[in-house]
């Protein structure tokens, strides 16, 4: 994993996007750093991890927090991690909507604006979705989508 710390400007830009889109405050990332790797990947790590990442060329560090291309795509891990700080563009799913998404089907909602959204069931953030019009697609990776019968 070849990675470098986000520059001050890049970090500020990332935090601004997360605040504007989801209402996530910068304080949610206190004592943490963002590292950028290939293919626009951005990892969230503890600040004490950084010297080890620089010196050991590890396979991975922390978790994949986002991908930055033309727009910022937050990962399911990131939205779950700071779920209790998300205030905007969050969609509260019914049980039927959750099950639809979990089977990789689309569902519909009039909440939130187009773009990446945070999906919630009860007060639990289940991950990232993509809203276009009234259609929502889950961005939760297939490997994380396990059958859920108790919710």
């Amino acid at each position: 994993m070849n990675s470098t710390l986000l520059s001050k400007t890049e970090k500020q830009d990332l935090l601004t996007q997360l605040r504007e889109r989801f209402g996530i405050p910068a304080a949610a990332f206190h004592n943490k750093e963002f590292m950028k790797a290939s293919k626009g990947r951005i990892f969230l790590v503890s600040e004490e991890s950084v010297p080890f990442i620089d010196s050991l060329n590890p396979r991975a560090a922390g978790f994949l927090a986002a991908r930055m291309h033309k727009t910022l795509k937050p990962s399911t891990n990131l939205l779950q991690f700071v779920g209790n700080t998300i205030t905007t563009n969050k969609i509260a799913l019914t049980e039927a909507q959750f099950q639809d998404l979990n089977k990789w089907a689309e569902t519909e909602s009039t909440e939130a604006t187009d773009g990446y959204v945070a999906l919630f069931y009860r007060d639990i953030c289940i991950g990232c979705g993509l809203k276009k019009g009234t259609s929502i697609k889950t961005m939760v990776p297939k490997g994380k989508r396990i059958p859920v019968t108790f919710l």
Binding site: N31, K32, L44, V45, S46, E48, S49, F52, I53, S55, L56, P58, R59, A60, A61, G62, F63, L64, N77, Q80, F81, F98, Y121, R122, I124, C125, I126, G127, G143, K144, R145, I146, P147, V148, T149, F150, L151
Partner: protein, 302 residues
């Protein structure tokens, strides 16, 4: 369940109550899990599970651990989102044995995959500091990465080095070696272990473990702690490995206690080989604790 004859002979002579021991090995394990405080709230999850109709029992020696009367905890939204981690109770012991030492904020986990103890240690460190989580098996580091991500752990750096020869720029104050072993202690959840069991396997794994513990000790800082553990009963993989380290270095063993958990001290000898320094090690027997079998030794480097 059919036990190999040498297995029966070996443990008839080692265990305090062989009949209860073999009966326990044939009894299914209770389903246990721990709450991941990085993502979930212990009381809320307990309440929610009770609303699902699950019978949930607290574990007296670990506030985040629970036993469930249903096997369905893997089908909950709490598991889906990483708020809980399904883990056998005895396997939660190694991070707890070094809980106070984790305050130093640096842990080297030499055989980390698939990550149950790594992610538990991250919880005990409140996601601060750094855990160097190494595993020599490249494929198993994928499972390790998956679990780290799912649990929301940010303080872990995953490497893929041979732990027998690993060199680091500086030693660590806390090192965990949950060594690869013959896994006899996991027979209750994985009876297939018995099909691969042999005295030769024990000897082969023991040789590897001695190489691993030697380098683990080299990677431990002066004044630091090395926690050696296995999920097996074989003295050659437990007391025999630690005794060799004590015989060849200045290392000492520290006593570990778990309140309300019935453990036994390490054994004093096996097949003519004495283990004079091992009384402070801990053995966890399935027929005493209704868990998997486990061995722990907390080693201090002067």
């Amino acid at each position: 369940m059919t036990f190999p004859k040498p297995f029966i002979e070996r443990y008839n002579s080692l265990v305090d109550d062989p009949e209860a021991f073999f009966r326990a090995l044939e009894t299914p394990l209770p389903k246990s899990f721990r709450v991941n405080p990085l993502k979930g709230n212990r009381n809320q999850i307990r309440t929610q599970f009770e609303q699902y109709g699950f019978g949930i029992t607290s574990v007296p020696w670990y506030e985040d651990a629970f036993v469930s009367d249903t096997p369905n905890i893997g089908a909950t939204i709490e598991h889906f989102t990483g708020q809980i981690y399904i883990q056998e109770l005895a396997s939660m012991l190694p991070p707890l044995a070094i809980r106070n030492d984790l305050k130093y904020g640096k842990l080297l986990d030499l055989a980390a995959a698939p990550g149950s103890k790594t992610t538990q240690a991250a919880c005990l460190m409140n996601n601060r500091g750094v855990i160097l989580a190494n595993d020599s098996d490249y494929l198993r580091t994928s499972a390790l990465r998956f679990n780290i991500e799912k649990q929301g752990v940010v303080n872990t750096v995953v490497t893929n080095f041979d732990a027998r020869t690993l060199r680091l720029p500086e030693p660590f104050p806390v090192v965990l070696l949950d060594a690869p072993c013959s896994s006899e202690g996991t027979i209750r959840k994985n009876p297939a272990v018995l099909r691969q069991w042999s005295e030769r396997l024990i000897q082969t794994v023991s040789t590897l473990q001695k190489q691993l513990i030697t380098n683990a000790y080299n990677l431990t800082a002066p004044g630091g702690v090395l926690l050696y553990s296995t999920c097996t009963f074989a003295p050659e993989e437990n007391e025999g490995v630690v005794q060799q380290l004590l015989d060849t270095t200045e290392a000492t063993l520290e006593r570990v206690r778990f309140q309300s958990l019935q453990t036994s001290p390490g054994i004093e000898a096996w097949r003519g080989t004495p283990f004079p320094g091992l009384k402070h090690a801990i053995r966890v027997w399935p027929h005493r604790t209704n868990t998997d079998g486990f061995f722990l030794a907390k080693i201090r480097k002067p």
